[in-house]
Structure formats: C-alpha cells, structure tokens
Symmetry: C2
Subunit: 375 residues, 2 copies
C-alpha cells in the first residue's frame, strides 16, 4: 500500500473537505459507516428486536470487538475485551497486577497522562503500597518494585517509549508491567504477546476512531488470566451470569475482566468504526505516520521559530508537539482557520497525524497557517 | 393525568403495534426521539464540530443529565451524575461508604441482584470487612454494621422495600445505607433527600428507557460530598481536569463521582430518552403502575393456576413475577406470540409494566396468551 492508497482512505471518513483535522490523537474522525450502523442498532436491534438483541450479538460484543482490536496490538484472540473507560480499566489492571505481587512500590512514568497517575495513587492507597514517579529513561527499578505503569507514547511530547526494553527491565527485577496504549494503538505495530507484556489497556476514541467516549479495552494474556483478580467483580465477568448465583465465580478467560452492562450504542459504533482497519497493514501505516510527522516538523522548522519538542527520531508517535507561548490563543486562531489540533498546559500545541485521513497537503498547509498566526 | 393521557404516551415510543412489551424492567423501549438525536450527535456534533463538542456540551453532560434524573429520585440539583455501569457505581458507593466507617460488616439483602452482592464482596475483601446476607424484613443490624446495601425492588419477586423504615433502621445503629434503584427509578416517587439516604445508584436502561447499556447514575447528597472518596479517581472527577496536574484533587461537588471519559453516544441517547419524563407526574405514574400490575395479576389468577409471587399489596414495583415450571420454554413461546417478558432461574416468569407504553389491553392479552400456553 503506497501513499496514494492511504490517501484514498479519507473517503471512508465523514470529514468536511476544508477541515485539516489534526486532533485524531484526542478524538478520531467519524468513519462514514458509523452513522448507519448506529441508526440500525437503535431502530432495528433495539426497536424491533428489543430484549432479544442481548442474545443476538450484544452480550458477546465486548469479546468479539476485543478480538478485532487484538490484531492491532499483537495479541492472539481471546485476550482482549472492550468496555468501561480507560481509567476504570487502569484500575482493574493495576489492582490485579499489585495483588499477588510482593514488592512495596508502584512506579509510574513521570510524564504520565494524569488519570493513570491518579488511579495508580488510589491503587497504592488501597493496597498499602508507595507510588513513585520516574522517567522511563531511568526508572531505577528494584526488587521492591511491584508494578510499573507506563504510557507507550507521552501525551504531551509525543515521545514513544521502548516497550521491549522497558518490559524486559521490569521483568528483570520481578516486577509486572502495565502498558497504556491510548496514544499508540492505531499508530504502529505493537507486539504484546511477543514481548510478554503482563497487562495493557487502551482507548478506542483516538486513532481507532470509535467515537466520543467509546469504550476502552484491556489485554489480559492467556497465561495471566487464571490469576487475574478483577476488583470490579460485576456480573458480566461471571462464569455463568444468567445462573444468577449468589457468589462470584469468574469466567475462566478474559471475560473475567468485564464488569457491568456495556454501553451498546457506543460499543457498536466502535465496531463499525473498526471496519476501516480491516485491510490496513500496520507497518505501512507506521511508515506513513512517520512521513507525515516528519513533513510537518520540517515545515514548522522552516516557517516558524517555534520549538518542536517531539523527539526527532523514530521514537515518536503520530504527534508533533510544539512549544508556543500563548498556546491556547494560538490554537483558537488555528481552529478558526480550520486547522484543528489542541493544546496542553502550559504551553504545548499538539498536532496529531492519523494517516487514514490526514494528507501531505494538510501537514504543509497547517504549518503555513501556524506560521502566519505566530509570525 | 388520567389513564387515557398515559396511554397516549405510547405514541412517543418506537414500538410495533402488535408487540406487547413487558420487559421494560430489563430493557426499556426506545423513545422515538432517540434515533434522530443519536444521528445528530454522530453527524453534526462529532462529524462537523469534532473535538470542539467537548466544550460545547459533552463535558458537562454527566451532571446536566444527572440533574434531570435527580427530579425522578427526589434529589435537589447537583447531587447526581451519570456515567459508568451500575456495577462500577456500586463499587464507588460501597468503597466510599465503608471508608470512614468503623463497623466490621457489610449487610446485603439476601435476594439482591447478583452484581450488587459480587461487588460488595469485593469491597469487603479489599477493606477487610465481613459480608452478611440478610432479609430486609430482619436485617439484624448492630453497631458493628458499617454499610447496608439494599435493592429498592427485588429483581426476582418484584417486592418493594420500605426505604423510609430501612434507612432509619440503618441510621439507628450508625450504619450507612446505599440504595440500588435499578428497578424503582421511573416506577414511583422516591425521596432520597427527604429520607436522608447516604448514597444511591441506579440504572437508566430499564424504566428510564435510555437504551441498551446506557450509563448508570450515582447520588451523593450535598452533605456527604466533601467526604466522598472515589476509589476510581479518574481525571473527570478532578477539580481542574485540564490543568493536568500530577496529583488528584477531587472536585468539591458531585463531579468527584465521575471517573473517565463518558460514552457520549449512549449518554446523549439517554438525554433524548428522558424527554418523555418531562411532564410525567410520578404520583400518577405510580397509580397507573399499580393498576396495570393489579389487572395482570387478576387475569393471571383468573385464567391460570400459576402462582404469582409478587406481593399482593402496594409493596411491589412495576413487575409481576409468576412461578412456572419450565419457565424458559414458556417464555420462548410467549415471545413467539409477541408477548415479551423474561425469566429468571430457576422458575420465575417476569412481566414488567411500564405505564408510559403498556396499555390495559396488553395486560389482559398477555394473561390470555400465558393461559393458552400453560393450560
């Protein structure tokens, strides 16, 4: 698949022609198929089939859609389920990782997206562990480290961390590692199974385009399923949910990571959104992502005096972050001119490049508009 | 509002004429307004406004819609937020209720819907408390009771419990009480504020018709908000979420009960669904619910020899449960004849009566079909 083939994919998205959408790292654009699918779910599945739809596909949707995502994160089927928010899944993963571990500390990357750190703190408080923030370049792990929680891509800088090396580093001291894939799924090939990752979570509304607040996912590898203890032991994770037994017996497999009744409209919107991934080669996607971000960087450095803080190496996600005083106002002006990115405090402009719908000319034009505004 | 006015409301729902839908206690029927609203959310809010929609109504939706539900549960504004599943909200409520309590046991009603008991067990295990199942008619509370978790309506029998008396009973020994309103919200007037309830949760996809898996709600009264400690301390509950601070400072109000990014499609479908409640008088609704369930009971007792296990008093929800050997097969036959209820193990047929769209003739005809099948 070459550049032209990727560009053709923009037709699969319901995006206005004059919009340069560079915020797919926050909320992906809507694939065209979603609107019709959601209408069908409301009018036919809910309206005509009513309660029967639960046994006609709804109940199993979290694991069926989980398997679709599994391919994108290098996981064999039966190890990913979809449901709940990323924060809730981080809680499940961290609680499960801490239990049965003997270390006394949780390590979180210092630049973590806030919710990861907040949830990890709650887990530390509930389990009596200490929490420590550290840079992935010097985690300083020890045998006292119980669990390491890392973001695969830094949400502010766009830096990509080395999953292979850091997973090995955690395992070398007997710690477990939980990866947050929010900013890397749908960006590059990920190899959870091959790298022996203990647990992972990710969201589906960024590069996977599942829609606002579409449910997150959790990866529990087969080998870890029997010992995965879900603190949110809701009935959807039960081995026999409709037996309505008084005591909780978890499903033997990944289904034990489910909790309560999933949000079917959001879930099946995601299902429709995933269709655009069916024939995407992740290696080619990665190449296009690097091309687009390189092009934008080059243009920004040529046309402006702003500092690009995203690493100038392959250790980056599909994002270019630019340091800019008055970032909020500059982004407002960019958006007013149909170049849509976002900003993060105190002074970072973020531009996401989703190769499925962002074109070379978008990257060039966005840099031009940025230069005009900041000159 | 008289019976005719209630019957007119069926027009607000997208239900086939020949369907007798008596499973609104499991999945409410779709209000007609939902399909158009969801289409607008996908095509306009997501498709055209993209990320901007977060600051154009999405972010505040959980508390805005919470306030709409507040009216239905006797709560002043600013005490209810919508989001996550019922199971997740039970976890939040129970963890928050247990912390800061000195008792050693959690008491759960013996007939609880399974997920409540499962989650309460997890909370007990995490906090080192014991868990005890007891009948609401003899809870046997003591000063050692930390928290009582009760279902307002029993999901199997349809029995309604006395919220005023049981709340008083818990408070008399210094225990906190958490009410599960899944089967009572949208059924009868509830007076959370007036009764001094400590915490409550409920779902929105049964009598509120929010759609399959629409998000649940949690009630945290004003007086209890400052001490409400959310174990799921996600960034949406932060006092300043976009400051992206490294440490968690909860919002001063009910927003602290939020966790992660809410499922906007399901959330705004619920918002549209709630429109049908705007001019419903809950007292009149209750009267109609009692009429419908009385009529169905009378017909079942006249036409069949089956035992109705729902209390023959006002202590019932909008549900009639019938003991029936071979309940699964009988329900399949009912559904094949367009009388849609459900069954619960081992031998209970359940029929829900949502006065907004169930008519007297539906209750009569359903009993006739049941009699024909079981004669």
């Amino acid at each position: 698949m070459d550049r032209e083939e990727f560009c053709v994919r923009r037709e699969l998205f319901d995006l206005d022609d004059d919009v340069i959408y560079l915020d797919g790292n926050s909320l992906g654009a809507p694939p065209r198929a979603v609107a019709a699918r959601v209408a069908e779910v409301v009018r036919v599945q809910w309206g005509r089939r009513l309660i029967r739809s639960w046994s006609e596909g709804w109940w199993e949707a979290p694991q069926r859609i989980g398997d679709r995502i599994a391919r994108l994160v290098g996981a064999a089927p039966g190890q990913v389920v979809v449901g709940d928010s990323t924060s809730v899944n981080i809680f499940k993963a961290m609680m499960a990782a801490v239990r049965g571990s003997s270390g006394g500390e949780i390590v979180v990357d210092a630049g973590t997206f806030p919710t990861d750190g907040y949830i990890a703190s709650s887990v530390a408080s509930l389990t009596g562990l200490r929490i420590r923030a550290a840079s992935p370049s010097s985690l300083d792990l020890s045998e006292d480290t119980a669990v390491v929680l890392l973001n695969h891509v830094d949400y502010r800088t766009g830096e990509l961390y080395d999953m292979a090396r850091l997973t090995e580093e955690a395992h070398a001291v007997g710690a477990r590692i939980v990866w947050d894939l929010c900013h890397s799924v749908g960006v590059l090939p990920i190899e959870l199974d091959a790298l022996g990752v203990d647990l992972a979570v990710g969201c589906t509304y960024k590069f996977l385009n599942g829609g606002p607040g579409s449910p997150a996912f959790i990866y529990v590898p087969t080998a870890g399923q029997a010992s995965f203890e879900n603190p949110l032991s809701g009935w959807h994770g039960h081995a026999a949910p409709f037996a309505m037994e008084p005591s909780y017996t978890p499903d033997p497999g990944v289904v034990r990571a489910r909790v309560g009744t999933p949000d079917i409209l959001s879930m099946l919107a995601l299902d429709a959104a995933l269709d655009v991934w069916d024939d995407v080669d992740l290696g080619e996607l990665r190449t296009r992502g690097l091309e687009l971000t390189a092009l934008f960087r080059q243009q920004v450095e040529k046309l402006t005096s702003l500092e690009v803080i995203t690493p100038d190496s392959e250790w980056r996600g599909n994002q270019i972050s630019v340091r800019c005083p008055d970032a909020a106002r500059v982004m407002d002006e960019l958006i007013a001119r149909n170049v849509i990115g976002d900003h993060r405090p105190p002074d970072v402009l973020r531009f996401g490049f989703a190769p499925l719908y962002v074109r070379d000319e978008d990257a060039v034009r966005a840099a031009e508009v940025l230069a005009e505004i900041t000159r």
